[in-house]
Symmetry: C2
Subunit: 293 residues, 2 copies
């Protein structure tokens, strides 16, 4: 598909793209730019033919395709370098979790914005998987040159993804609800539990199997990535937090007044969502995610 | 251990006690009281020797040990029947998720309150497992006759549980944080997502793999059980909801003002809890709970 691709930032997502690209024969040569020595050490073991680039000032004229997989807070620096590349045929994409904030980089006509809906609470190339994108959604933002968008689409499909087009506004609104708010809520719940533990001087961790443990997984996600997301999807975050608090206050009132039917209705309704999620193959159907402990 | 035990209510927990009791040879005979015909049909297949009792008015004088596994809202009816049993050697226990509200039933001197920290989003005997209590905590409330408490302790240990003593106040306070609040928050998040879906007319379910799906599992829990819990742990719920909202408003402010260091500190801190949960063997260590989809 390509002769020379360059992966900039080789953490969980970057290394998964690397492994999946090797498996699916996406490119003859794969170049990697990765700041951390400990990460390079892990990546080197994946495949001996991977070529490391030590800085982005270098002549990168042979590169056909760049995938930026760093935290979004590093994009400014990265684009200050790669904006200088002159090749007309170059295609650039990236994997950031919010999109409106990245539109400014699209003054670089080679850029196509994408967001693979994949990842987990772990980070780093140690956890990279060649199957990470398999059957997962990848959102492409419909801004930029058609031929470049088509090439990026082809790339993600080659890694096994199902590609869908959206505009940046729609993307940021939807993922505020399906991803960003859930993460913030998980962080906040764990913080509330920590506060309780401090005040009450009780070890509550050992009783976390009653529900808290699920939230602790989400709240163990990478702090740089999530700070970037919360800050760049600021307005949608605040809007959805406000709606969440409004609903919570409503439920609180109903619990206080023991509104039997109304509470049951809310609980029964939210049960339906699980079935929809399972039938649309967004989660495993086994109880407790099939975990055994 | 016993000659005749009676399981009252044979859903997920009741049927797991049933299966585990058979496996661990807890009793010569096992009696079951189960209202629903469809449940009895499933239970009958577990073991042919299980004896069904069609009502609690019957002569139960041969029963040594009763385990009540119905929703707590049915206890009043059940105790109105079993309070009449005269045998001095009878021991009664139950598995309710809150405890202060059950202290009133302890006027029955045979009763010992227990709470096995086990279960999941599914309910009904179809999902019962003989391993459900294995290596799980079981909380016993330190109220009642010592010899009866010891027998109940022995019973849970026989099913594989690790038993710990607490008073009802402590129990309800701790599980408000580790279990009841997380469930309420999950229900509230799903409700907020449903509201969004209705207003925006967008199918967001298919993007739930970004975080929402975890919450949908918790929010698929049994509505009768959880209504009972929210109502009977009313004061602790309201208290912890208030603390949660206070924290959420604080985080919201910090996001609004892009307080970099302060947000990062909260995220890094909450990450530590995951490690503690895994090292205390309350969850699997695999990323994404080891689920593969």
């Amino acid at each position: 598909m390509f002769n020379n691709i360059l992966i900039v930032g080789c953490g969980l997502i970057g290394s998964s793209i690397l492994k999946s690209s090797i498996k699916n024969k996406v490119s003859k040569n794969i170049y990697v730019y990765e700041k951390l020595k400990k990460n390079r050490k892990i990546i080197r073991k994946i495949n001996k033919k991977i070529k490391f680039i030590s800085n982005l000032n270098k002549d990168l004229e042979n590169i056909n395709f760049i995938i930026i997989c760093t935290p979004m807070s590093e994009y400014k620096f990265i684009f200050s370098k790669i904006d200088k590349l002159k090749s007309k045929d170059l295609v650039i994409t990236e994997v950031g979790s919010t999109k409106r904030n990245l539109l400014k980089f699209a003054k670089n006509k080679n850029l196509v914005l994408s967001h693979p809906i994949a990842g987990s609470e772990v980070s780093g190339p140690k956890f990279g998987s060649k199957e990470l994108f398999n059957n997962k959604w990848c959102i492409l933002i419909n801004k930029g040159m058609k031929n470049k968008i088509n090439l990026v689409k082809k790339f993600w499909k080659k890694l096994g993804s199902k590609v869908i087009m959206m505009n940046a506004e729609e993307h940021d609104k939807i993922f505020a609800i399906t991803s960003h708010l859930p993460h913030l809520i998980a962080y906040n719940l764990i913080k509330t539990a920590q506060d309780f533990q401090k005040v009450e001087q009780k070890n509550i961790i050992k009783y976390s199997a009653g529900g808290l443990r699920d939230f602790s997984r989400t709240a163990a996600s990478n702090e740089i990535m999530w700070r970037d997301i919360f800050f760049s999807n600021n307005d949608n975050m605040i809007n959805s937090i406000n709606k969440f608090i409004k609903n919570l206050n409503l439920i609180k009132k109903k619990i206080k007044a023991k509104k039997d039917k109304e509470i049951k209705k809310i609980l029964v309704n939210s049960k339906k969502v699980r079935k929809q999620i399972i039938s649309s193959k967004q989660d495993v159907s086994k109880p407790d995610f099939g975990r055994e402990i």
